[in-house]
């Protein structure tokens, strides 16, 4: 570089994602020590994670989104001017003037000004209620408008950003429309088949999609605010707000004004080193740059690569940027969408391998070259294999391509382990990290955990889509190096849950302290345990209580201290500290008298009442000191605990069945009640749900349950491993045409085998998929008795069934336990003043003063799925 004085100056214009990465790259190369670094930042806040903008609606605050560590800025002596954009550049004098009037001399000028959202020139495009979606300020403005005056919103543009914006509107709880000019959604990333799968899933979520129509005019009301949109097919869409998401354009005005060359369709023209073609002192990186391959990249990964290239060039390292991969994986509105390599099959003579199941919104396409090379692909609905497939792009995968797109369980499917990848396969495309680099992080740099490897290599730190593959590689590498990967339950136990279960059962260990002191990790013995192992061990002890000589009452003695909060109060904690009450209604069958009792109790205690998704009734808003009073009345009327709080059997749903229904072939209600009463109170690794349908029409949705039963003319079919919830899975058929006795025997065995071998918080569906051999193995064990343990499984269940006692009845009859149900130990009659309510739709809802200081990252918030 042609540095003038002793202190050459680098001026960076734009502190976005790429600008920030450029600063980090300067620091890594020691350039912050030898240069004065000035940053002009237009937005009112330093760089943040624009890619994750929409996660604001799942609870991430603007602070959480920040990518700028102020300690980094300070320790490197970087001068960061927030809210002060560059206004003019004088290339001759090498000076930049900022809006504040400050003037900076530069030796190197780096433009990282990003893009601006393109707004089509339709009439009234600037009316009140029209927005774009790019910055945190845009998002806050949209939120405010939506909350105060919009019920319906429309997004112009059905590409990647349009879907993000529609997701944001949906997150705000308003009715959302997407208007896309192309005949399908995400026309750039996916093909027709992928677009159809995506459309179906998105429409199922309640969003309205209008493809093949353009926006012609924004209609405004008398006050000048948006009331609708005129579309090219002549129709009019009524809407209270419009978000334009019709693409972006490079922000190159500053460059144009100072005479730098820009492309025909915008973008500051640069060479392989990211240096502008007009001026060796000026660089352009990120979305404002027109790269040497003639493209403007709208993704963050190529921008990062350009930032590294520019920094390396300034440091006189060798680096060049000649083009980048456009692979993307996104979770749009909860739907996985990924495309990589030559997704549209433009290579000559290539073949497509397609798997499509539009009913479940699945579409997978691989593009294969004549010689078997994987060239690219599109995945919609399930992008599990994205990380591995992308890394195999450009090589011939070791298994057949067909087997890679079939869903798990459909015969041919094969799992390709990341260990099969070559060392130069790119694992993290955002940060361009090769497999070899990740392996070195473990072997050379002694990293032993994923967070350490992330820090060391930057892999997995941007979009996160590679983290799963990263974890598999790190474990494989550790194991290969002879390091024993710690599969222990938590910091207190080196055993897995399954191993602890075996210890408890075989050695009849019936207290947690005993287990911790004898079998815990050396450093944990004699200690207080932790919030992970206490409930897990509490659950094992409760499942085996009659057999190992522990009390079956979960609040007995030490067991009380092990229970999660919900189990400890035998009710579900609500956001304001109140509790909900769910009495058991076996099979969903209830007498009018029973309904009246519940109604009277809810009325007398002023509880919010709702029919649940599990065919029973939930009463919300009980104060802790009211729980015993409410339950005394419920128990008197013959109700018992519904265990809505426990990791245990929830409900066995039923359909009305043969007794009333003209199609029914068995008495599904009776069977559902029998099953619910048999397995009630059974503590398990995760909650258990079941259902019984009276015929193949399946009105009880049995195939979405942990164990589901469907009547046949000859008896019952048993399905296992189903799941609704976050990752739905249809249950697998375990056995057919069973008699009542056969059915119950098989379920006894199945449940006890699951309780014995599953991990903590592992539902039957994930357990079944993890277990080597899967369904076939389970069938061998529980139907064929291949391990010779069925007798034991059955007797364990028999012990549970014969020792069952209602824990609420036990509690209200035990004065010492009742003493715990008080708000304050020193003021038992004073209700907690924080528990307040306000009226809503003739009932109540919690009134909670908002103390929003942020949430834990969204992935941990799903109760039960949290793993540390």
């Amino acid at each position: 570089m042609t540095a003038t004085g002793a202190n050459p100056t680098i001026v960076l214009v734009g502190h976005g994602m790429v600008g920030q990465r450029f600063l980090e790259a300067l620091a890594e190369r020691g350039l912050t020590a030898t240069h004065r670094v000035v940053v002009l930042c237009e937005e009112p806040r330093p760089a943040y994670d624009r890619v994750a903008l929409t996660s604001y609606f799942s609870g991430r605050t603007p602070e959480d989104l920040s990518m700028t560590d102020m300690a980094f800025i300070e320790s490197h002596g970087i001068e960061l001017y927030i809210g002060d954009p560059a206004e003019t550049v004088d290339r001759e004098a090498r000076k930049v003037t900022a809006r504040s009037g400050q003037v900076f001399d530069y030796d190197v000028l780096v433009l990282a000004t990003g893009s601006y959202p393109f707004v089509p020139p339709v009439p009234n495009k600037d009316a009140e209620g029209c927005f774009v979606y790019r910055t945190i300020e845009d998002l806050l403005a949209i939120e405010e408008y939506a909350k105060s005056r919009a019920r319906v919103g429309a997004v112009v543009g059905g590409g990647l950003l349009g879907l993000e914006a529609a997701g944001a509107l949906k997150g705000l709880g308003i009715e959302s429309h997407i208007v896309e000019f192309a005949p399908r959604l995400m026309p750039v990333q996916v093909d027709e088949g992928g677009g159809a799968a995506l459309l179906r899933t998105i429409e199922e979520m309640g969003l309205s999609v209008h493809t093949g129509v353009g926006t012609q005019e924004i209609v405004v009301g008398e006050d000048g605010a948006v009331t609708g949109m005129k579309l090219s097919d002549g129709s009019e869409l009524a809407t209270d707000m419009v978000v334009f998401s019709a693409g972006v354009r490079p922000r190159d005005q500053l460059a144009r004004d100072c005479g730098l060359t820009v492309g025909e369709r915008g973008g500051i023209t640069v060479d392989e080193q990211c240096r502008t073609v007009s001026d060796p002192h000026v660089f352009a990186i990120g979305e404002c740059a027109l790269a040497s391959d003639g493209r403007v990249y709208g993704l963050v990964a190529p921008g990062y690569e350009q930032a590294e290239t520019a920094a390396a060039t300034i440091a006189e390292d060798e680096a060049e940027f000649t083009g980048a991969d456009l692979s993307t994986k996104l979770k749009l509105l909860g739907v996985d969408v990924a495309s990589f390599g030559d997704a549209h099959g433009t290579t000559e003579d290539c073949l497509d391998v397609v798997y499509s199941d539009s009913r479940s919104g699945l579409y997978k396409k691989l593009v294969i070259g004549r010689d078997g090379t994987l060239l690219g692909g599109i995945l919609v609905g399930d992008a599990e294999a994205y990380g591995t497939l992308k890394a195999f792009t450009g090589s011939v995968p070791p298994v057949s391509p067909e087997s890679l797109v079939l869903p798990a369980g459909a015969g041919e499917s094969a799992q390709l382990g990341p260990t099969a990848l070559p060392d130069d396969a790119i694992i993290c495309s955002c940060n361009n990290v090769r497999k070899g680099t990740i392996r070195e992080a473990v072997t050379e740099h002694k990293c032993t955990t994923v967070p350490e490897v992330k820090k060391c290599t930057k892999a997995g730190t941007t979009c996160g889509s590679c983290v799963k593959v990263l974890g598999q590689l790190v474990n494989a590498e550790l194991e290969a190096g002879g390091v024993v990967v710690d599969k222990g339950l938590c910091g207190c136990f080196s055993q897995t849950r399954e191993e602890l279960y075996e210890i408890v059962l075989a050695l009849r260990v019936n207290t947690y302290q005993d287990l911790l002191d004898r079998y815990g990790r050396e450093e944990a013995r004699g200690g207080d345990g932790c919030e992970i192992c206490k409930p897990a061990v509490g659950s094992i002890i409760a499942s085996l209580a009659p057999t190992i000589g522990a009390d079956v009452y979960v609040l007995d003695g030490e067991q009380a201290a092990l229970q999660d909060t919900n189990d400890h109060f035998l009710a579900n904690l609500q956001k304001n500290g109140s509790y909900s009450v769910v009495p058991r209604i076996p099979g969903g069958e209830i007498t009018p008298e029973g309904l009246i009792v519940i109604g009277e109790i809810a009325r007398d205690f002023g509880l919010y009442t709702k029919i649940t998704g599990g065919q029973r009734i939930d009463m919300f808003g009980a104060r802790v000191e009211q729980l015993p009073l409410i339950w005394t009345r419920l128990v008197d009327a013959g109700f018992e605990s519904g265990h809505a709080y426990g990791k245990s059997l929830r409900t066995v749903k039923s359909c009305v069945g043969q007794t009333w229904c003209r199609y029914g072939v068995q008495d599904s209600v009776r069977m559902a009640i029998d099953l619910e009463l048999r397995y009630r109170g059974l503590r398990s690794p995760h909650k258990l749900k079941s259902a019984v349908s009276g015929c193949a029409r399946e009105c009880a949705e049995a195939q979405s349950k942990d164990f589901g039963v469907i009547a046949t003319t000859n008896g019952w079919n048993l399905y296992v491993g189903g799941n609704g919830g976050a990752t739905p899975r249809h249950a697998d058929l375990l056995a057919q045409d069973l008699s009542d006795a056969e059915l119950i025997r098989l379920i006894d065995r199945f449940l006890m085998f699951y309780i014995r071998t599953a991990d903590r918080l592992e539902r039957t569906s994930t357990w079944l998929e993890r277990l080597p051999g899967g369904l076939d193995h389970v069938r061998d064990v529980v139907v064929e008795d291949s391990l010779g343990i069925c007798e034991e499984l059955e007797s364990l269940m028999a012990a549970h069934v014969s020792h069952y006692r209602d824990e609420w009845a036990d509690t209200i009859n035990d004065p010492e336990k009742l003493a715990r149900f008080v708000s304050f130990v020193n003021a038992p009659d004073t209700p907690d003043p924080v528990v307040g309510f306000v009226p809503e739709r003739d009932q109540i809802k919690p009134d909670l003063p908002l103390l929003s200081i942020g949430l834990r990252p969204a992935e941990d918030v799903l109760e039960g799925t949290a793993q540390r």
Binding site: G527, F569, L573, G577, V825, N826, L848, L851
Partner: protein, 116 residues
């Protein structure tokens, strides 16, 4: 924090600006579980006793969720430091210092507590 000898008629007391407030019998505290106490000024305190008998007292209000429920969380130790995990979204708080172990910018108030 004081080590509490195993005697049943001991009382748990909290240090407030104007002296010690007696809250409850020591026997009301189950090792590994908390209780809540109401202070004269309307503040709420979560009291805990660990397996060794050590007592701890911190503000009862979960600073993330806003509800007064920290006394109902599960306790444990992490690298030798005693903690309670909020029953709402499971953030852990050091019982001695009130520091949140999952977010270094958050801390809850602590109180001096003894059994006598």
């Amino acid at each position: 924090m004081t080590l509490a000898p195993e005697t049943t008629d001991l009382k748990v007391q909290l240090r407030l600006t104007d002296g010690w407030l007696t809250v409850c019998d020591l026997s009301a505290l189950l090792p590994g579980r908390g209780v809540a106490a109401l202070l004269p000024d309307g503040e709420q305190v979560a009291l805990f006793r660990d397996r060794a008998g050590t007592l701890y007292a911190i503000d009862n209000r979960d600073p993330f969720g806003g509800a007064a429920v920290l006394s109902r969380g599960l306790t444990g130790s992490h690298q030798g430091r005693p903690f309670v995990a909020s029953p709402l979204l499971k953030q852990r708080f050091d019982l001695e210092t009130g520091q949140c172990l999952d977010d270094e910018t958050v801390r809850v108030r602590t109180y001096e507590v003894r059994a006598s």
